[in-house]
C-alpha cells in the first residue's frame, strides 16, 4: 500500500494544488453569476481537446493550444453576446455535447479521449506531466494570492455595480487554469470544483477571507482524500470519489454552520431576555 502511495506522490501533489486553486477562481466566477457559463465553457474546452487530438495526435502542447483557442473563441462569443439570458449557455452546452458525440461517432479513435476528458484520470498522467501541471497550479495559486484584492474588486464591480469591464490578466489566468484543468483533470472534476464549493459552502463562515480559506481547504482535502481512497480501494474511481467527498464535506460544513448560527441566535435571544428582565 505504501508503495502505491509512493508511486502516486506527484498525483497527490497535483490534487492538493488544483483542489486549493480551482475553488478560489470558482468563488469569483459563481459570484459573477457565471455558473452556467462555466458548464458551457467546460464543454468547449473538451471539444477543443478532441479537435487537438484529432489534428495533432499526441503532440500535447498543440492539443492544449487547440483547446485554449477554441475556449477563448467561445469566451469572446459569450462576452460579445447581448441577449439570450442564462438559458443561452444551456443551449451552447447541449450543442457542444452533440458536436462532441458526433466527432466520436465519426472518429471512433477519439472515444477514449472523450472518456478521459469527461472523467479525467490524474493517476494515468505521466510523472513529468503531473509535475508540470503542479508547477502550473503553484504559479496560478501565487498569482491569485498576489492579485487577490484586484480580483475581489472585479467581482464586486461585476456583481454589485453591473460593470462589464474586462480585466485581460484575469481572463487569461482564469482561461488557462480552466483549459489546463480540463486537459489534466477532466470536466467533472473541474466543473465540480469551480461551482460546488461556492454554492454549498460560500456562507459557512462569516467574512470573505474565512469563506475563501474554507473553500480552498475543502477543495484540497476532498481532492487528496478522494485520490487516497481510490488508491486504497481499487474499485473506487478517482474523480467520482473526489466529487462525492467534496459534496459530503461541504454538506457537513453547511450543517455545522447552521447549528452554530442557531446556537448563536439562541444565545442572543437569551441575552436580550435577561437584559429586558434586568431593566
Amino acid at each position: 500500500m505504501i508503495e502505491l502511495f509512493e508511486i502516486f506522490k506527484y498525483s497527490f501533489l497535483l490534487c492538493l494544488l488544483a483542489g486549493m486553486t480551482i475553488p478560489l477562481q470558482g468563488a469569483h466566477l459563481v459570484s459573477r453569476k457565471q455558473g452556467l457559463q462555466i458548464l458551457a465553457l467546460a464543454q468547449a474546452g473538451l471539444i477543443g481537446n478532441l479537435l487537438g487530438k484529432l489534428l495533432f495526435h499526441e503532440v500535447e502542447i498543440l492539443t492544449i493550444l487547440c483547446s485554449l483557442v477554441f475556449f477563448v473563441f467561445m469566451k469572446i462569443l459569450f462576452l460579445k453576446r447581448k441577449s439570450g439570458g442564462e438559458s443561452f449557455y444551456i443551449v451552447v452546452y447541449l450543442a457542444l455535447m452533440a458536436i462532441g458525440n458526433l466527432l466520436v461517432s465519426i472518429f471512433p479513435g477519439l472515444d477514449s479521449h472523450m472518456s478521459l476528458g469527461l472523467f479525467g484520470d490524474v493517476v494515468s498522467l505521466s510523472a513529468q506531466n503531473t509535475l508540470l501541471l503542479s508547477a502550473f497550479f503553484v504559479n496560478i495559486f501565487a498569482l491569485m494570492h498576489y492579485c487577490s484584492k484586484r480580483f475581489k474588486r472585479n467581482t464586486l464591480n461585476a456583481s454589485m455595480f453591473h460593470s462589464s469591464k474586462i480585466d485581460y490578466l484575469e481572463e487569461l489566468l482564469f482561461s488557462l487554469t480552466f483549459v489546463i484543468s480540463i486537459y489534466g483533470l477532466g470536466v467533472l472534476y473541474t466543473v465540480s470544483l469551480y461551482i460546488m464549493p461556492t454554492v454549498l459552502g460560500g456562507r459557512v463562515f462569516k467574512g470573505l477571507s474565512a469563506s475563501l480559506l474554507f473553500l480552498s481547504l475543502t477543495g484540497a482535502f476532498s481532492s487528496v482524500t478522494g485520490l487516497g481512497l481510490s488508491v486504497s480501494f481499487s474499485n473506487l474511481s478517482t474523480v467520482p470519489s473526489q466529487v462525492v467527498l467534496l459534496l459530503l464535506v461541504l454538506s457537513l460544513g453547511k450543517l455545522i454552520g447552521k447549528i452554530h448560527e442557531k446556537i448563536g441566535s439562541n444565545t442572543k435571544r437569551e441575552a436580550l431576555k435577561c437584559h429586558k428582565v434586568e431593566s
Binding site: S31, K152, F161, L208, L212
Partner: protein, 189 residues
C-alpha cells in the same frame, strides 16, 4: 461655484429623448431627476458622465471634473459571506469615511444588512477620494421611508463634510426632507 451647466441641451442616441434641457449644479446642490420610464433619465446621467454625446446645445463642466456613478441596487443574493467592512476594505475606503457606518453595522454580512445599510456601503465604496459629483440611480429602491430620510441626512452630511461637492439623484421617490434649500428638481416629461 458652478460645477456643471446645461443650456438647452438635447439628449438621446439616434432618436432625441429630451429637448432643450437647461439646469445647473453648483457646490452643495442635490439635483433630483424624476420622470416616467423611458423619458431618458439614465441617458441624461450617461450624457453628464460623458459616455453619450450631447445631440445639441451646450454642456459646460468644471475643469478636471471628478465624478462617480452608482447604478441601481438590484436585489442581489451574493453567494459568499461578505461583511460590509470587507467591501469597504476592498475599495480602500479611508477610515474616516468608513466611520459613517458604526462598527456593528460594518460587521454585518451583506445578506443580513438592510437596504439602507447596503446602499450606504455602496455609496461609501465610491468615495475613496473626494468627488465633485456623485450620480445615484434610484438610491431609495428597496429602502423603507425611515431609511430614506436617514439616507437623505447621510447625503447632506457627506456634502457638509466635503467628501462630495454635489449629488445628482435619479429617483421616483422624493424624500420628505426636500425642504433643504440646495435641493433642486428636474422633471423629465
Amino acid at each position: 461655484m458652478r460645477i456643471l451647466e446645461a443650456n438647452t441641451i438635447d439628449i438621446g442616441y439616434k432618436k432625441v429623448l429630451q429637448r432643450g434641457l437647461s439646469f445647473d449644479v453648483s457646490k452643495g446642490d442635490i439635483l433630483f431627476v424624476s420622470g416616467a420610464n423611458g423619458t431618458g433619465k439614465t441617458t441624461l446621467i450617461k450624457t453628464l458622465l460623458g459616455e453619450v454625446s450631447v445631440l445639441s446645445g451646450e454642456l459646460k463642466v468644471k475643469d478636471g471634473l471628478r465624478t462617480q456613478y452608482l447604478p441601481q441596487l438590484l436585489q442581489y443574493d451574493f453567494p459568499l459571506s461578505l461583511t460590509l467592512d470587507e467591501i469597504l476594505d476592498i475599495y480602500e475606503v479611508p477610515e474616516r469615511i468608513k466611520n459613517f457606518l458604526s462598527e456593528d453595522q460594518r460587521d454585518l454580512c451583506w445578506q443580513d444588512a438592510s437596504g439602507g445599510q447596503k446602499q450606504k456601503t455602496l455609496i461609501l465604496s465610491r468615495l475613496s477620494r473626494n468627488q465633485d459629483i456623485l450620480f445615484l440611480d434610484e438610491p431609495f429602491n428597496h429602502v423603507d421611508k425611515e431609511s430614506s430620510s436617514q439616507l437623505m441626512n447621510f447625503f447632506q452630511e457627506l456634502i457638509f463634510e466635503g467628501f462630495i461637492s454635489s449629488l445628482v439623484i435619479i429617483s421616483h421617490v422624493i424624500p420628505s426632507e426636500l425642504n433643504h434649500e440646495n435641493i433642486k428638481g428636474l422633471k423629465l416629461q
